[in-house]
């Protein structure tokens, strides 16, 4: 089915700025779902608040647009109540790592079968460009006019440390890789976290003089490399992309079903 058949064009025009990377992620999430052959009615997309979190409105699945930072807690209830449904949680970097940081680590720790897609544009876009916990040290935002003195989370390391059983990173430049990774993440039984580096030319780009959307996407091409590549050895400053972790571990809703069986003797 073509990607457009998964869109609720009645909700358009969408709110994203020209050049925003979030539409690329939405398109690729749709392509991944299509490749997996999931029925629309089997998919629930749950989001919080922010630019990223408007995505569920535009896709023709069951969609829940909840509170800033709380999407994973909400999704936990959906998944536990209806384990047969595929639950995908698109989040922003502020949404996932600041206000929702606690829910992120606990969802990862439980290894509940949710797919968190963290659309990392290194900024709070919807409120106009404040620095987030994933804004690189020294970069500017409207609340860090001289550059932030906060250190950024490496969300890949955070998710691994917290107990996620699938952890990956990709960028809006690497679209084919992104589709494959998202499809693998959805298929994975357990908590999967995919960080997608996504350009915000309007706020983050402009504030930090990073050029156009194309310039920013090119910086993903030049500034990243596949995990364990030779390039990484030569240029340790490059950010690695790919699947960092994919392990089979007891999944929360399955463990719960086993508990129910045991209790019912």
């Amino acid at each position: 089915m073509p990607a457009k058949d998964y869109l609720r064009q009645r909700f358009f025009p969408q709110i994203w700025c020209p050049g925003c990377g979030h539409g690329i992620i939405m398109g690729n999430m749709i392509r991944a779902i299509d490749q997996l052959g999931l029925e629309k009615n089997e998919v629930v997309v749950v989001s919080g608040i922010g630019c990223s979190s408007r995505m569920p409105g535009y896709v023709d699945f069951h969609s829940l647009h909840t509170l800033h930072g709380r999407a994973l807690a909400f999704a936990m209830g959906v998944k536990m109540g209806r384990p047969e449904l595929t639950v995908i949680v698109p989040m922003g970097d502020g949404d996932a790592a600041a206000i929702g940081g606690n829910h992120l680590i606990h969802a990862a720790r439980r290894n509940i079968d949710l797919t968190a897609i963290i659309m990392n544009n290194s900024i709070y876009g919807m409120t106009g460009g404040q620095f987030s916990p994933m804004t690189p040290f020294g970069d500017k935002g409207t609340t860090a006019p001289s550059g932030t003195i906060d250190h950024a989370f490496d969300i890949v390391e955070l998710a691994k440390g917290a107990g996620a059983s699938f952890v990956a990173r990709t960028t809006t430049y690497h679209v084919k890789e992104m589709i494959k990774i998202i499809a693998r993440a959805i298929k994975h039984k357990g908590f999967s976290m995919v960080e997608v580096m996504s350009q915000c030319p309007t706020y983050y780009g402009r504030k930090n003089k990073l050029g156009s959307a194309v310039d920013m996407m090119n910086s993903y091409k030049d500034g990243t490399t596949s995990i364990g590549s030779k390039k990484k050895a030569e240029h340790p400053e490059l950010i690695e992309r790919g699947v960092f972790l994919e392990e089979e571990r007891p999944e929360y809703s399955a463990s719960y079903s086993a508990l129910v069986k045991k209790s019912q003797g």
Partner: protein, 392 residues
Amino acid sequence: MTSEAVLTGEHFINGDEACAEGALAVGCRFFGGYPITPATEVAETMARRLPAVGGIFIQMEDEIASIAAVLGAAWGGAKAMTSTSGPGFSLMMENIGLGLVTETPCVIVNVQRGGPSTGLPTLCSQGDMMQARWGSHGHYEIIAISPSSPQEMFNFTIRAFNLAETFRMPVLVMADEVVGHTLERVTIPPAEEIVVVNRKKPTGSPETYLPYKTDSSFIPVLPDAGDGYKIHVTGLTHDERGYPGMDAKTQETMMTRLIQKVRKNRDQILDYEDYFLDGAEIVIVTYGSSVRPALRAMRGLREDGINVGLLKLNTVWPFAEDLIRKLAKKVEAFVVPEVNFGQISLEVERCSSGQALTHLISHAGGGIHTPQQVVEGVKETLRMLGSKRTKK
């Protein structure tokens, strides 16, 4: 562990446990919670009982996550509940607003303890009654019911679920530590005698279905996730299609319906018990753990020839406005014992509009009124009425 959801028979249990049994009896199969005194026994009972009846218990990372998971489970079709006390209730406020605006049926139990802040974790208060009414941002109507005994913890939790399913909204059970921790006989009736209401589901074509278009009841008929309707649920102001609409007109339409949903159905929601109201000079208005000392005081006063009646508010929100207005024309005074410094008494005063005196018997918390304190409060009111008459 028993796999029976309804434990028909006589039990010696506390109010928190009775609350959990009521929830199980009416079909609650999802509980998300976080440990907090004095509500923990609700969660502990659910953790013990739910798996055996095929239900889900999750201990979440905090109260925000607990209520969020409850809302999520409710959207998956479950009858879902959480229980907490003051600090946790404060954390839940934003999500209560989300539950109201997304019209999500669920039950939130607040076993009130002394506040503000950490306050008196192990002791009683009724300090959160106005927070229950207005604690989340924006204007809204809410349903809150107030049990006064372990038996009512069982009965009223059932009613809370039925109200939530009928009106599609979060319903608050405003209990308190004394009610939650009182250990006494609770009678659980046979399953077939328990009234169980289940939410209505849409039946029409998903293509032409308008989720928030309602009839004169103002109550929408909404699907669960996975029902094939693929609706968009949002905390943003939305129109009858469920689409966000950022304008004054959409806000007015949505807000008016949400407010009317409770106001126009008030008669169905309100529940109270009255004692000797006919010809009463003074009426004690009471709810929760204040009911028992108030009833005892009323009986003693009546034996002494004082013409006092009692109104027991089972539903606290929406407030029994019309009833108080009507009574205010007939009685001399209302006496309101509350374990706070005046919350429900403010409503009584508002509705009596100066036509009858309202006298608050306050209590800072840590316990409840003795019957004698209520007696003294009524006698004080009589003195106030006397001096008012003399002045006239």
